[in-house]
């Protein structure tokens, strides 16, 4: 990717999608042939409540430009309340990330139901554009390079 200029640069987003809502929505977006930016790399989990903050930090440390979490709408969790646990962790994590000097827009949580293929498309496009505005993440470089 070294020869790509910033205009063409496409961010890499690690996306954690819950099996029941957002992953299904991304299938629906596929079936409906909704075009969106090829930035996401989806990791399927059963519930957004499974998402450990460590996963998010690992993703950033290994070079993700953004992390997107997709879960069921409040009240709609397939497991009753996993999405609330996710939201609480996310809210705390946002504060931590900000303190760590990371643009909070690099981490995003969205509720996308199984029927919202269109929303998935919009969210991915929007986040991709935002990340293009912010530019490539330097987190990996900072983590790997001890400055003397």
């Amino acid at each position: 990717m070294t020869n790509m200029n910033t205009e063409q640069w496409s961010p890499k987003i690690v996306a954690f999608f819950c099996n029941w809502c957002t992953y299904t929505a991304s299938d629906l977006a596929g079936v409906s042939r909704l075009r969106y930016a090829p930035s996401t790399r989806v990791i399927r989990v059963m519930c957004s409540g499974r998402i450990d903050p460590e996963f998010i930090m690992e993703a950033f440390a290994k070079g993700a430009d953004g992390v997107l979490i997709g879960g069921c709408h409040p009240g709609d969790c397939h497991y009753s309340e996993g999405n609330y646990k996710c939201l609480r962790r996310y809210d705390l994590l946002q504060r931590y990330i900000e303190q760590m000097g990371i643009d909070t827009r690099r981490l995003r949580l969205e509720w996308i139901s199984a029927a919202e293929g269109k929303k998935l498309q919009e969210v991915v496009n929007e986040m991709t554009n935002t990340l293009k505005e912010i530019g490539p993440s330097k987190i990996k470089h900072v983590v790997e390079t001890i400055e003397k």
Partner: protein, 324 residues
């Protein structure tokens, strides 16, 4: 213990540290006699007059055990860490700072420039009209003076050299040190390289005597002076931020026994790369609120999350330091 066996050669060194670790070594009290009976202290800047040059002259692998305490903060720390590594059979990261970065590691929230400005210009007790900052080399009439280079990042020991074992704590429990020492002396089978030794294999709560009520979730957090501890209920359930659920035991739950929340100096259990992340996950999970606004309000009572959850472990955590 027979005297025919050659005595162990022991070194203790401090990097970026407060000295507490060295004191903890002294805290062996009368056991020191056992130690001295079995070991020769070949290098210990705080207690012995041994020069770096003497160490440099030692053959490789000359020292049996080095207890390296303190983080690596400057070129001198790094130089000695590498030197000792070369001369030592068993390199032990001793104490939280060498293990995970420790309190000095909190400097990774700031840049070197910010730190210098604070220390050499802004601090209340400083008069420095000429804005003189430390230089690695200064030439004066008598010749050249040097200072170690102050690094931009604080590092854990294992980010600089290969470490055999970790002995956690701020400071480590002296009893644990004696146990480890005796194990080495008696030639007991040592755990696999890279292990944390002199500590437990579960987290703090395992030994904690406080009760779990498990009634309802937390709606806000308190700092210790904001509310009276009832003395018996789990501190987290009372809303005090206790790092116990994500912190390795072995200290004997020292802080909670003294009615203070655990601050996490023993670090995480094996296989957990980031104790702060784990603790954040556990703490946030305990919250009761569902509405975004209520959650934010509850989280407002967590003052300085990064500093709280990474008090001892920032340089050793996944993200390591603040982005600048």
């Amino acid at each position: 213990m027979g005297n025919d066996k050659p005595k162990l050669k022991l070194a203790v060194y401090w990097g970026a540290a407060c000295g507490g670790c060295c004191v903890s070594v002294l805290d062996v009290h009368e056991k020191l006699f056992d130690v001295v009976a079995n070991a020769d202290l070949v290098f210990w800047p705080i207690a012995l007059d041994v020069k770096y040059k003497d160490v440099e002259e030692m053959p490789d692998q000359h020292i049996d055990v080095t207890l390296f305490n303190g983080a690596v903060r400057n070129s001198e720390n790094e130089h000695i860490a590498k030197l000792l590594r070369q001369k030592t059979k068993i390199m032990i990261a001793y104490g939280s700072c060498a293990h995970m970065g420790g309190i000095p590691g909190l400097a990774n929230f700031s840049t070197k420039e910010e730190l210098y400005k604070r220390v050499y210009e802004d601090s209340e007790s400083t008069e420095n009209a000429q804005k003189v900052y430390p230089q690695t080399e200064t030439t004066i009439a008598e010749g050249k003076l040097t200072l170690p280079n102050f690094y931009k990042d604080v590092c854990t020991l294992d980010q600089i050299v290969d470490v055999d074992y970790y002995l956690p704590g701020c400071p480590p429990q002296t009893e644990r040190l004696v146990e480890v020492f005796m194990a080495v002396v008696t030639g007991a089978e040592l755990p696999p390289k890279g292990s944390v030794i002199g500590a437990g294999s579960k987290v703090q709560c395992d030994e904690c005597k406080r009760e779990k009520v498990n009634k309802s979730g937390i709606t806000r957090f308190y700092r210790t002076w904001e509310k009276e501890d009832d003395g018996k209920t789990c501190l987290n359930e009372q809303g005090f931020l206790c790092m116990g659920p994500a912190t390795r035991n072995g200290c004997g739950v020292r802080c909670v026994e003294g009615n203070a929340p655990c601050r996490g100096c023993y670090g995480p259990l094996d296989g957990i790369p980031d104790p702060g992340a784990k603790m954040m996950s556990a703490i946030a999970s305990m919250l009761n609120e569902k509405e975004e606004g209520d959650i934010q309000k509850a989280l407002d009572t967590v003052v300085d999350p990064a500093g709280t959850f990474y008090r001892f472990s920032l340089p050793g955590s996944i993200l390591r330091r603040k982005q600048s």
